[in-house]
Symmetry: C2
Subunit: 768 residues, 2 copies
């Protein structure tokens, strides 16, 4: 048991300030801390963890080690930029040495992890096995490639497609792994719908062959229309993505309008019905799976907290409780950085009757309590008021302040932005307009200065005052841009890139309009809230794109070339490949869409994700290689558009529904109630309302107050509030939703029961 | 009060056999019947309804009147086929007389409705006002057009776009009205997201103008690239629909790959993020609104049932109850066609203790009880077994029966279908293959005969044996098609249409594969279940399409013409309009996509719904008329794709979620329990399992059994089961979901409370 606690207990240092959802580790930490506390308190329980092991563990979790791991992961991925076909070519020797270096680093990290993890746990974890297998495969590939290179045969660096494995399988990418698990669990259900969809496509293909095959129809390009069943199937698959509508229908439609009914039926069944069913199946599974996982996590948390309670409990009267002193010690161990006033607040909530001990129910929610960010609010006077009270309180000054706080002030500036927009849209070469630029800029700066005069500066730039920061940063950027622009124009120096950035920054200034319209702010805030989780999708998309890009580069690089059309070379019109003569690919001037380096490949894959014209791209690459090349493009479509984009939509829908049904959790309500009871609360509405904070200094509860028995003193002069619920992550909200469904107090499910709750035991990260 | 009951009480004759969700009218009927029953039973309550009024009401609701109304609605809509620009031209005199005839019919229907409705209710209903205003407007338009025609000026028949109003506003189109209400309620929320979306588009347009405007870039067609801010905005709007990706990006991308980031950012923000947010907002509102409406309906039902109970109740002991005799009378009034055994079953459920009276709780669920279709199952022997038992029970016969019931029998036929598919795909002109056709057909017919030999024929073609019917119909159609084909080929006669239908029917035979794969059947059953509600969307789409088609025909007819390219006329290449020279529209041979008659217009609008290439169509019509024509296409996109398609997706998602979480309702469970208790139940699984029913005759509870006190006798030899829950409509499921949320027994909400539940009082059909 102590060995267990050693492994699980010490690898996360500051749970209370973390914005992440309270995952397993917090409970592990508390459980371990309970052991530690028990040992320190009683001085008689044997505690066998060697200090060396703990040091090793701390070192494993040190930020430098993590940063180094990430550095090597990104280096490994970035190697594709320098390997043939390269954006910036480097000799094979350099890239292979770099790759071996990365592999060594990964291996070292793995060995280190093995040292701090029990053998059994380490070898049971598929992550570790995956990483090891990938390392071995990459080495084998490197050796084969190098030996072939030595005898001048060009091999295929297939192992490069495996590189994202390192990104997925390191413990820190928990979210990406969860998304992949979600996809894996959806697959069986999707499969049957997909088969039915293929079947329906086949039936329609046969019909098309019989209906149109013998008519001698020709497409716009003059090629035979619907004569080969495989071509028809491809065309109809493209029609599902809508990319060749209405062109594919025109020859038949010209013959008889009656035939358009065939295509309309096909579109209704396959495009609208089946694609909606795909979304429904993906969404349903996503939600089910998420619920299962979070439910399991929540049950496990409850279980561990109960275990920790059982270690620390003593019997007082008829009930088991935890003594106040031990509770304090535990919290200090778990959250060493906690301020004493914060600690007092938590104790007041946990020990409501001030009986000197915490009962089971209150103890169980300790992990949640620690996870809620309580912000200490310090009401302060404006510095100007302190320095020169008479001037600041004069009637002129008060009038200015009142004016700034008035609604009309906001409206006036909205009109100014509107006029500014028109000026930006007009040609700026006119000197009058470029002078006007300066006028607008100074107006904006005056606005910010006026606001700083009215509101307390530290409150105005408080931690959660996102919109104030946004506003100021945009103006600063625009100021910089305008200054830079003038300088550049004055010196007749023109770097295109800098000029472009300047232009964009100046236009971004218009985003200020969002700040002043409340409804827009709400929408944007919701979008920003789901931002972090959207990064998970970024990771997911990166992994899939990278693998497909590597495969695409191996298969298609150099087949299509972009030659400057200005050179007048006849090859420029057919992208350097005569096979493309008269193709829609060449006619659309798509030569730049190729797999000749990583950047081009990624851009091309983005175009394929957007779907439109993907069949022309697929046809182009099929012409320069082989018809089977279309399979690559169809595969990409199935993986990215049918699976990942649908999961993305499912995620957005779920996030919006959660945001719509936003309510405070039971624990938060308890804290808030206590804060109000103690009379140290701030109405959240006052604080939240944009720039209208009055003379308040908000900072995280990191101030130093005297630690002691005098609780009243510690809380005196301070106000608390719960950090805005608007800035919670979706995960936290989901967890909150599902936690209320867990069996109430007293009916604790057993650990076995909990783990068998979901059909498959989920992957618990490195602490399982 | 009696007047009220007259209006509401008698206009629905057989609620028990209806598959529709239990809506308001059932409760109205019950309430009214309670009055009637009370009158008949006590013979002392005055009942003032004149027989004439009731006859008028019955006449209003007679099926011939309803059919006539629908006929005139469709005639009115179909007039567009015969009016200029017409598919089948008719003189103005004929169409205008037909239209006046329709209007007279609508007016007559309205007057009839006014006669059977209380004045106050009639004039409060916006539906009636709408119909009247539309009639008047149409008449005015007709008069103006005719007078202009008389002096040879061609007017605009603008009132034609209003015709769908009749379809929406007649009482029978409740579902379409609900969909429109749902859209109306979504609008305010959608509006803000849309404004933000427009704002973001504007910012990006300005950026594009600054970044690319001065570069002198040219598109593939050679026109200037991104020089006019309005053109840019249109291009970017098209990019949101993905229709011009990646073409719109290529000129900038060729200049520098860096610029592709601009477009990728734009696509991520506007295409993926905003379009998902639109879906989320529409979906969320759809769900909220649906829940509100169904909640209100359910509360109203509860209220009316309570009122009916209060009329009929008598005090027995301490509780109020309804006597058995009155209960029977009530049910007989409400459902005159109910069989006595069915009635006995319901009584047994309602009067559990056989106390001779029904308590309040059981009375309240009477409407639900009547709405559940109970099927009487009559277990019968195979007719052959009755006629020649010795032969049928012989060992050979039993072996055949066992063989047919075996899994391998199904597999063998799956393989046969597979081989058949390959034969169909091959060229059928080969005589060997055309003989093989006969072989396959006879194999299929033998299969059906064998099944009929093994299973009881009436059971095999039972009411809910959808898949058996499906199977047989497909084979019969294929048989007919093959015979027809042979006849046609023998006589050297070839009608293209008949040949096409024959071909399609023969290929549809392959759908049999679905029957034999269980997982496919489940998916298809779900899709079929949501079919009826999907027809609502059909109506909704029809209304919008019709209005847009009429506007489109008035604005664009004759501008683009399809001339046979075989004629060699130079005009054929530019669709008969020189303005289209060198346009993408003419190059894509899109001449057939025009507004020259209703059929073409509807097909064109379908193409616009599919979205791809819609900008080329819009550009084409803008070239032949005016740039402002693009607004028509953008408007259509916003209404159909952003609103209606999203509501469609929301509906499919919701329907699937409901289907996934399918559970029996509380009332159904009670009935089933009672059926089991009485020992007259059939295991639903046995009956449901496709063709594996053994010697059972299922018919609706319409058999004649002796009516009397001997209940045992009435139930003897009969088995009951609840009609499959798989074939319920989504509405019923939703109602079931929300009903459980209503306050339980004893806490009846008042009517006022109920009606104020939703912010706006919903439209209660003609009974409000």
């Amino acid at each position: 048991m102590p060995g267990d606690s050693r492994a699980a207990g010490t690898h996360r240092s500051r749970p209370s300030s973390s914005q992440e959802p309270p995952d397993l580790e917090d409970q592990d930490l508390l459980l371990a801390a309970a052991y530690v506390s028990d040992a320190q308190y009683n001085r008689n329980v044997p505690f066998e963890t060697s200090p060396q092991a703990i040091r090793l563990y701390h070192f494993y979790n040190h930020w430098t080690m993590r940063a180094a791991t990430y550095f090597f992961i990104w280096l490994d991925l970035a190697l594709a930029l320098f390997e043939e076909p390269a954006v910036f070519p480097l000799p094979f020797l350099v890239t292979s040495v770099a790759e071996v270096l990365c592999l060594t680093a990964f291996f070292g990290r793995l060995v280190h992890f093995a040292k701090v993890t029990p053998q059994k746990v380490f070898w049971k974890d598929t992550k570790n096995i995956c990483v090891m297998v990938t390392i071995v495969l990459t080495l084998i590939d490197l050796v084969i490639y190098a030996s072939l290179e030595a005898v001048n045969i060009r091999g295929v660096r297939w192992s490069r497609a495996l590189r994202p494995v390192f990104l997925i399988n390191f413990p820190e990418s928990r979210q990406i792994r969860r998304a992949f698990r979600s996809i894996r669990n959806t697959l069986p259900d999707i499969l049957y719908v997909f088969l039915l969809f293929l079947f329906s496509m086949m039936i329609f293909s046969l019909m098309a062959l019989k209906l149109f095959g013998d008519r001698g129809l020709r497409t716009v390009e003059g090629s035979p229309y619907f004569t080969n069943v495989l071509d028809i199937a491809f065309e109809l698959y493209v029609l599902v993505t809508t990319a060749n509508s209405p062109d594919v229908m025109m020859p038949a439609y010209e013959l008889n309008w009656w035939y358009s009914l065939y295509f309309i039926t096909y579109i209704i069944i396959n495009t609208y019905l089946f694609m909606s069913v795909f979304l429904a199946v993906v969404y349903n599974n996503y939600r089910k799976h998420l619920k299962n996982e979070i439910h399991t996590l929540a049950c496990l948390k409850r279980h561990k907290m109960t275990e920790a309670f059982n270690i620390l409990k003593v019997k007082v009267g008829t009930a088991f409780v935890v003594k106040e002193a031990r509770w304090r010690q535990l919290v200090k161990v778990v959250a060493p950085d906690i301020s004493s006033s914060h600690l007092e607040l938590l104790l007041r909530i946990s020990d409501e009757g001030q009986t000197g001990h915490v009962d089971k129910m209150n103890f169980l929610r300790l992990a949640d309590l620690l996870n809620i960010r309580v912000v200490a609010v310090n009401i302060k006077r404006h510095p100007l008021e302190t320095w020169m009270p008479r001037v600041y309180q004069s009637s002129t000054s008060l009038l200015v302040q009142k004016m700034v706080q008035h609604r009309i002030f906001v409206w006036v500036y909205d009109v100014i932005i509107l006029i500014n927009t028109i000026f930006i849209a007009l040609d700026e070469k006119d000197s009058l307009i470029s002078y006007a630029e300066w006028l607008f800029l100074s107006l904006y700066i005056i606005e910010i200065l006026l606001k700083l005069y009215t509101y307390e500066p530290r409150a105005y730039f408080g931690r959660n005052q996102f919109w104030n920061w946004f506003d100021t940063l945009i103006i600063m950027a625009a100021l910089l841009a305008t200054v830079a622009n003038t300088t550049i124009q004055a010196r007749k120096y023109s770097s295109q890139q800098i000029l472009d950035i300047v232009l964009i920054l100046r236009i971004l200034r218009l985003l200020r309009v969002i700040v002043s319209i409340q409804r827009f702010r709400v929408i944007v805030t919701t979008l920003i809230n789901i931002g972090p989780t959207m990064l998970t999708f970024g990771g997911l998309v990166l992994v899939v794109y990278y693998a497909f890009a590597i495969i695409g580069m191996e298969a298609f690089h150099g087949k299509v070339q972009f030659l400057d059309p200005g050179s007048g070379s006849p090859d420029a019109l057919v992208c350097g490949n005569p096979a493309l003569k008269d193709s829609a690919f060449a006619r659309g001037r798509y030569c730049k869409n190729n797999f000749n380096d990583l950047a081009s490949s990624l851009i091309l894959l983005t175009e394929l994700t957007v779907v439109n014209q993907w069949h022309i791209l697929a046809d182009g690459f099929a012409l320069v290689t082989h018809q089977a090349a279309k399979l690559y493009f169809i595969g990409f479509h199935i993986v990215v558009v049918i699976l990942i984009v649908n999961i993305f939509i499912a995620f957005i829908l779920e996030a919006f529904f959660v945001a719509y049904s936003l309510e405070k959790s039971e624990v938060e309500t308890a804290i808030e109630k206590k804060i109000q009871e103690l009379g140290v609360g701030v109405q959240e509405e006052e604080v939240q309302d944009g720039g209208l904070i009055d003379h308040m200094d908000i900072k995280d509860s990191g101030f130093s107050a005297d630690d002691g028995d005098n609780r009243k003193k510690a809380l005196k002069g301070l106000y608390f509030r719960i950090a805005s619920k608007k800035y919670k992550t979706v995960d936290t909200l989901l967890q909150q939703m599902f936690e209320s469904e867990i069996a109430p107090e007293g009916k604790d499910p057993s650990l076995e029961e909990t783990l068998n709750f979901s059909p498959k035991k989920p992957n618990f990260g490195n602490s399982a």
